[in-house]
């Protein structure tokens, strides 16, 4: 080392620093107690500075064992169990399960009950997307859209509460239709739980307000250059990854896959209305956000059309008081606000199902995180995670 020999002093000018600065990665625990994990999700991230080299989600903190509990509950009791899986869209969880049981028993649901189910499902979708539309900018730092969207969401929840009595867990679905009467006794039987007076007029007024807040959010968030700088081109999901991991719902349609279960499956009479499927092409956080705002507008138009065409009629088909489902297996899926929600019901006769497999949307949506977050910065990870709109109850069941 000639530089060292000359008088033992290192001549800085010719001391070639060839060692590559290798700092070892830091293990950072994001969660389970963290503001942007939408619940109890723990991400063990190997972080080089702020760049993520490897991410390992740890889930199970919210695992309530719904599938095991479903094996000891009678069919009417299971609806109270499953509307707590994705607690932001409570009503929409029950519909596929109830339709599965109806198809197993071969029951025909009256038209009016199907329309009421459809209206309440679309109202739940609006309320779910409003939660997303407001909590996502909060992940990026803007606190104001949260208040506007929740102000309108309260009106939508009041509508649901006026019909069903509950806001988050309405428990209004029954096998064969919707809850027909307040009780089983002589007087309560004829207290019919149809839509309360003034419901249509209140709904139309609320729908105008929801559209208003969508425009406000457009001005405040979608048009904002800072939001665009934080979300365009961030967390891009190519279509083949979407298919391989089973990512569904608005996340799938934001990556250019034109597939909406409401157009393919026939749980609810969606064919009586025309609405278009919102599809965007480049699958980044910005597209996932705009897809959902557009879907709110589509749902509003569906609700308006449904109110115009709702037929009159009974609320529930003739169903024996003690429900015994004939042996059989069926898998029914529906377009839940967060993605494809499906129930694989195996019945062996009797009042209690033999096995219920619950396919929840957020479980698959989250499994993409390790792939998406490679090489991302922490703020990008927070932005990408927020854009998937998942809820831990849906992930852990």
């Amino acid at each position: 080392m000639s530089a060292l020999d000359a008088g033992g002093m290192v001549q800085i000018s010719d001391a070639a620093v060839s060692v590559e600065l290798v700092g070892e990665d830091m293990m950072l625990n994001i969660g389970p107690q963290h503001p942007s994990t939408h619940g109890v999700l723990r991400l063990v991230a190997q972080v080089d500075g702020e760049r993520i080299t490897r991410l390992e989600p740890v889930i199970g903190y919210m695992h309530r064992g719904k599938e095991k509990l479903a094996e000891v509950r009678t069919y009417p009791q299971i609806t109270t169990l499953i509307n707590r899986i994705d607690w932001i869209s409570g009503f929409a969880n029950e519909v596929p399960f109830v339709v599965a049981v109806e198809r197993l028993m071969g029951i025909e649901v009256p038209e009016r009950a199907q329309y009421i189910r459809l209206i309440l499902t679309e109202l739940t979708r609006i309320s779910n997307h409003l939660v997303f539309a407001s909590s996502y900018p909060l992940e990026l730092g803007a606190a104001t859209p949260l208040m506007y969207a929740f102000r309108e969401r309260e009106r939508v929840l009041d509508l649901i509460e006026s019909v069903t009595g509950g806001r988050f867990h309405p428990n209004f679905n029954r096998v064969g239709g919707v809850k027909p009467a307040a009780g089983g006794g002589s007087t309560q039987k004829n207290v019919v739980l149809d839509l309360p007076a003034g419901f249509f007029e209140a709904t139309l007024r609320t729908m105008d307000k929801v559209l208003e807040v969508c425009d406000e959010i457009d001005n405040l968030v979608v048009g904002n250059e800072l939001i665009q700088a934080r979300t365009i081109g961030v967390g891009v999901l190519p279509p083949e990854i979407v298919l391989a991991y089973g990512v569904s719902g608005p996340n799938m349609r934001a990556s250019g896959i034109d597939f909406d279960l409401r157009k393919h499956e026939h749980l609810l009479p969606y064919d009586d209305f025309d609405f278009d499927v919102v599809v965007r092409s480049n699958g980044d956080c910005f597209d996932r956000y705009v897809t959902r705002i557009e879907e709110i507008r589509q749902s509003v138009s569906i609700v308006r059309q449904a109110i115009g065409k709702i037929p009159s009629g009974p609320l529930r088909a003739k169903v024996p008081r003690v429900l015994k489902v004939p042996p059989g297996e069926i898998y029914v899926r529906a377009e839940n606000p967060k993605g494809e929600m499906g129930y694989y019901v195996v019945s062996q006769g009797g009042r209690v199902p033999y096995r219920v497999k619950i396919r929840s949307a957020s479980f698959s949506n989250i499994s993409v995180l390790p792939w998406v977050s490679q090489g991302q910065l922490i703020p990008d990870l927070v932005a990408t995670m927020g854009s998937f709109d998942f809820v831990l109850g849906d992930v852990d069941r």
């Binding site: 950072l28 503001p35 942007s36 730092g141 606190a143 104001t144 800072l226 934080r230």
Partner: protein, 336 residues
């Protein structure tokens, strides 16, 4: 009066103006942000419109347990808030609130202010490093990078003002803005620097001061949704109040400097000098509250930028613009 007594009086007067102003700004932020989000804001603290909320918060924080994490570097951890507060309160020394109402008219006033205000960067780094928690470490690193990156545009924008005013002393700058630009009949029209040539300088100064205070859209060091509270994560009790007060006192001090440099300090066209002795402080406070409203308005409308976007904004946009601004001011100064 001997020097020390006079010094004490000045310190008391300066604190008597700065700290209550910071409390007023805290209350302003609570109320304005609430009404911007269609809610009411503080309501019960003090007779149904909540004026006593900042005091209630202060008392609440004081009786909170003030714990020092075991893995923290205790001495540095305890000292950090006071370094930040010292750096912020030090800037009130030379802000003129009247023709001869200033605690010390340094002729190197501008140079002194910018030097002292960068002291709080040191406090933030101390807090980030000594809290012994990964999130505050990341917050500290971000703070270090951000505050240093935005010192430059802040200083360069102020240099342009010094070039146009021809002096570094803040009193001199205010008097420079008091000279009439042109005459309509015999009435001399005076224009604050904001209007006369320094519009770009003002925008750069404003952006840089938002970044200095690490407020949204530049609040990476205290990014609630990523780093829980950044370098403030481990602080609680009276120390957190010091930081909290430091942030709002910093807001008041930076808007006071901006008001002096760009909006003409205590000067209002058409007021005589001795009248200004009395009205001057109100004019300055009015301008400071106006600028604080601007900070608050930005905070509750915009999201926060990502770390690298923030740096590229400073190095690629603000610093070149500030340099061009200085050249242009010098050119016009020479030509006219």
């Amino acid at each position: 009066m001997s020097f020390t007594v006079e010094l004490l009086v000045k310190v008391v007067v300066v604190l008597a103006i700065a700290l209550p102003l910071a409390l007023v700004v805290i209350f302003g932020e609570l109320k304005v942000s609430a009404h911007m989000q269609s809610r009411v804001g503080p309501y019960f603290a003090g007779g149904r419109w909540g004026w006593a909320q900042p005091l209630a918060d202060a008392v609440k924080f004081m009786q909170k347990e003030d714990l020092v994490p075991s893995s923290a570097d205790a001495r540095v951890y305890k000292l950090a808030p006071y370094v930040v507060l010292m750096g912020t309160l030090g800037t009130f020394v030379i802000i003129p609130i009247g023709p001869d109402l200033v605690s010390r008219n340094l002729d190197l006033g501008l140079f002194y202010v910018l030097a002292v205000s960068s002291l709080s960067t040191l406090g933030v780094l101390m807090a980030g490093w000594s809290s012994g928690n990964k999130y505050s470490l990341i917050g500290g690193l971000r703070a270090g990078a951000q505050l240093i990156a935005y010192e430059l545009p802040l200083v360069l924008a102020a240099v342009a003002v010094a070039v146009q005013a021809g002096t570094l002393s803040l009193n001199g700058i205010v008097e420079a803005q008091a000279q009439p630009w042109f005459h309509i009949g015999d009435f001399g029209v005076t224009l604050p620097f904001l209007v006369s040539g320094q519009i770009i300088g003002f925008l750069i100064f404003l952006t840089a001061s938002i970044a200095e205070l690490s407020r949204i859209p530049f609040d990476m060091p205290i990014a609630e949704s990523e780093l829980t509270m950044g370098y403030l994560t481990e602080y609680s009790g009276i120390r957190f109040t010091m930081f909290f007060l430091g942030e709002y006192a910093g807001m008041v001090s930076l808007s006071a400097i901006a008001a002096t440099l760009f909006l003409g300090g205590y000067w209002l066209p058409g007021l005589s000098n001795d009248l200004l002795d009395w009205v001057g402080p109100l004019v300055v406070i009015g301008k400071v509250l106006l600028l604080c409203f601007l900070f608050i308005w930005f905070r509750w409308t915009f999201p926060r930028l990502r770390e690298d976007q923030l740096q590229s904004l400073a190095w690629k946009w603000l610093i070149p613009a500030a340099l061009v601004n200085i050249m242009a001011t010098a050119f016009f100064k020479v030509v006219f």
